[in-house]
Subunit: 341 residues, 4 copies
């Protein structure tokens, strides 16, 4: 049994990690920290874990965390980077679900997060944890930057096209929609049921923090800058994310369906739907799956991509990365089908 | 045109008052206060009022409020009682949507609200603003205590039975359910869409603050104490409240349907459904209506009562009271049918 | 008082017409037909109309309808065109909320609706009922084709740009999202709460019936064909529609905010938000408003447009058209602000 | 591996059985029937099962079903009773999720279901499949009548009190609330998102079919008739059920908390909350758990009981029964914690 720690366990990605670890046959959660709730049993905050997880939140303590094989950071930006260097030094593998290690350029990171980066020297080493892109590097990594939800949903939709140079890189439109859980478990007016329920809105214009993360990966895949127009919207529901991607085809006579099927053949968590099918978020809720469909309208290719923002978009992908880093079967703890309806 | 002020206009009862006043032909909102948001245009906080209401939140100022004919307090407990005496002295009529003047007994008030009452001498004068019970007194009142949402929903269901001595007063069960807007517009975790959505829970046990308010009115109507078991629940929706009342009949051979129809004949905002019908909250959403149905199972009478907690349960009833206090047509501004679906 | 009839009153656009007519000071609903429910009181099907509307569904009868000043058709495609010629002959003004008279080309209509058009000679005369585009023609019309919800939401977003030739007409992306009420009140599995709730999906690919309607209007405004990519999505909520429009700017140095404000200055039902603001559907729910915001990302203009699909997207706009056709104040019955929250 | 069949697999209890069987280590689904959808791959109807279940719906065929070790009927009333006798004769164990074998009295069954019972001789043998009541009998059973959702939720709340003779059997009030999935996957207007969303209503008065089922079990436990007032309500959400039970205590000085904890000590799927706690449905969603809390108001005991209507209220309990009938570990396939939020 591998020992696992979670720093910052009171948010939605934290409780999702716990749900998945609860059924993991080879990993056991041994430490869970929360500055604000030290001393409270986890099951008191999350009654869904009564009888499942007999742990108590503790104050973050580097000695305790250092005894883990893997530590997840489920913390806001700026937290992980304070502790990661020491944990790595002590031989702990780290997966950061926050954004501290996603951007390669420390200055760009500072511009978006309005503070200096505490350990820019680790940015190059950190592996961007999208297994469909970087599986081998993840296997050997000490430090994985778990991708954001929008980037995961978008990259899986665009990678096959970009890798083959099939689309116009001058302008690519990503119209993305997320369930409210993406905004976290903080008390705030705009995510109250009375505000976000029965409502649909745009947010994050002019610039969402996932924009540079997507752009960086696009650039790396395409070998050049890609003109990205990214507009996120807020859905009146709890879990689920969809991206509708519009790109101009530069090579008209390509079998897009075959391209996507081949690119993702063998991928355990990417499901290319049959030609003509249309995905919905419900079919992936609570699962680590991305379902994709590729359509075409004239010279525009339209890719539809759905994930659960908390699972493949965060904690499920983090477990997938942990499995890879520990040399385990990649799909462990990630195989339950979606709860339907 | 009568001049109207609102103290504490940033919550859901505040914006509901504004919505209704916007179509009132004889009253005009001239002052709206908010300590935290003074200087902000109302339409900036509530875009639904863009083009409808050209007012700015101001700090509460007694001089400004004193120029109004009527002032509504849409404030948490303990606020209205600080300013009401002076406003009354200066000839302003006051309607308090909070609980400061609902209980007649200052000591009981203190027990529930954990503070001394600032003007216990006004408790006797304050008229409990349920027009179906106290219409004439409201017409002549300077100070109206607008009933709570649960009490309104419950009293209208029980009054006909209690007034006629038809039910066992030893034990009366009120199983009540409210939409989340009843919890207000404060940022808090339990009313986030992710927490309250797709969820149903009990709250307020062992004792909800509306319990003594209902009991007091029961006692007054019945002329004796009534054993009330009151259990509130939280519904995964925005607006709407239902109470299912269970009472033991002490006189078996009464035509309950006729009783309810006669009791509420001529009432503009109480609709007794035909025998056998079942009400739903959607049919009263955004309206000042209470819909009632009376059923029977053996010796138990079951009364089903639905209101919109923010309209008949708060701001709509407050406007109804204002209309009565000003000698206007009782239904002004309250006649739009529910938006369906 | 003008006399009004509705053919096909049991769907959501029918009950929305009734809600609005209930508060109309100069029009009175006198006939409402339903083949399947003749004899049933309207308020029995729609309890929200109890005490508001004392009418009974009748079988469609041309004699009865001919006594009306205006008749609305709230029927599926293929119904209105059977009766409209005779009603026009008898001097009745007609507003069709269905698609029978929206396309000018009878062959195109037949391709999309898989049947012959019954009165192609009326297609030219029928006025496309978007007041912001055709106000004067509507004033003089006998027959108005009320626009679809997606076309209304899209056209108001794009018109100012297209009229001025500011955008690339080769490709324009409209990513549109609609509440479930757009799918109507028919019993079907995909719109059950258990299917459409907590879910988000794409539909209508490869071709939605509103596509040719939007394209036709674009062509007319631009004087040339416009390459439209239109992808509709289904939102897990009842009312509300949003379109996010992406267009390439061909003239870079234009003040888009000023353009939109000038274009819609004086329009009672189009509200251009201040620069930088972002609209949500809740602020227009139940109202006849379209709220617009215009943003820019490089050479791409992004227009955000929200309406209530049943009001400005159907029945509210139909009442607006009726007001114009009868020479009444355009805003009658359409001035209540949105119910919030 | 045991072979499992499902008759009638296109409803919500069918797909829930499939979800749970997909992770069952010792049972494999080999046959799934549907008269209307024979020939369609299961994963086409339920995309959540793509890659999980490679089966196709077939017409019901007794030969094929007879090869199974266990057959579940997830069918409306009147279907199972036609085939069960033959399956039993051929040595197949049967679990009926419908109501055909829940009532012991064939005449009572006929009154509620308006048809003759096809095999009344099996009613006595059929074991009522509530493991917390009949575990040993279930272990030895050929035929299990899986309880209804309301009866499961209610019986677990009341059993400890009734078994000990602590409550007044003259009148017991059960105010129950169910998510919409309890109404099934049939196309019908009242369960559309537009009708059932943002709405709360009572239904099933004067008599719901689960009433006689609860009464029968009460009578058996108490040894006498119990006066049951049962009022079901419809919640605007997908999954989840709550019952608030009100009963008069006849012995005042009992430690209710201890009573419940002792009664359910060792039960894997009943979780008695700590004194003072309040359950919510979200904490049991998708799980086989019943969470209970017991409160007191004067002489009235209030028991709060929550389950997932499709899991402990139907398919989860059916799997639990299967595990018992096959001599397997009772909790197999039923141990994943709830998906939260």
């Amino acid at each position: 049994m591998y020992k696992v720690g979670i720093v910052g366990g009171t948010g939605y990605t934290g409780v999702e990690l716990m749900r998945l670890l609860a059924v993991h046959p080879q990993a056991r959660l041994t430490v869970i920290t929360s500055r604000g709730n030290a001393g409270m049993p986890v099951a008191e905050m999350f009654p869904s874990l009564r009888g499942v997880l007999d742990l108590t939140f503790t104050d973050p303590d580097i000695e305790q965390l250092a005894e883990c094989d893997v530590v997840f950071f489920a913390t806001p930006h700026g937290t992980a980077m304070q502790s990661v260097p020491e944990l790595l030094d002590r031989g702990v593998k780290v997966i950061d679900l926050g954004p501290d290690f996603r951007l390669k350029d420390a200055e760009e990171w500072s511009r978006w997060y309005k503070q200096e980066h505490a350990c820019p020297e680790l940015l190059e080493e950190a592996v961007y944890g999208l297994p469909e892109l970087n599986r081998e590097a993840i296997r050997g990594a000490r430090l994985v930057a778990n991708p954001g939800c929008y980037p995961t949903c978008t990259l899986l939709a665009v990678m096959p096209l970009l890798e083959r140079g099939l689309i116009d890189t001058k302008q690519l439109v990503v119209d993305a929609k997320s369930g409210v859980s993406g905004a976290g478990r903080q008390a705030q007016v705009r995510t109250l049921l009375c505000e976000a329920g029965e409502n649909f809105s745009v947010y994050g214009l002019p610039g969402h923090r996932h924009h540079p993360e997507i752009s960086q990966q696009f650039r790396q895949i395409a070998g050049q800058s890609v003109g990205l127009v990214f507009v996120p919207h807020l859905l009146p529901m709890i879990r689920g994310m969809e991206a509708t991607v519009y790109a101009g085809l530069v090579h008209g006579d390509v079998d897009l369906q075959a391209l996507f099927e081949q690119r993702y053949a063998g991928e355990p968590f990417v499901d290319v739907l049959p030609a003509g099918a249309l995905p919905d978020t419900k079919s992936v809720r609570g699962t680590n799956l991305c379902r994709l469909a590729v359509h075409r309208s004239g010279d525009t290719v339209i890719v539809l991509s759905v994930i659960d923002n908390l699972t493949k978009g965060a904690s499920g992908q983090a477990i997938q990365n942990m499995n890879l880093m520990l040399g385990l079967e990649e799909t462990l703890a990630l195989q339950s089908p979606a709860v339907l309806p």
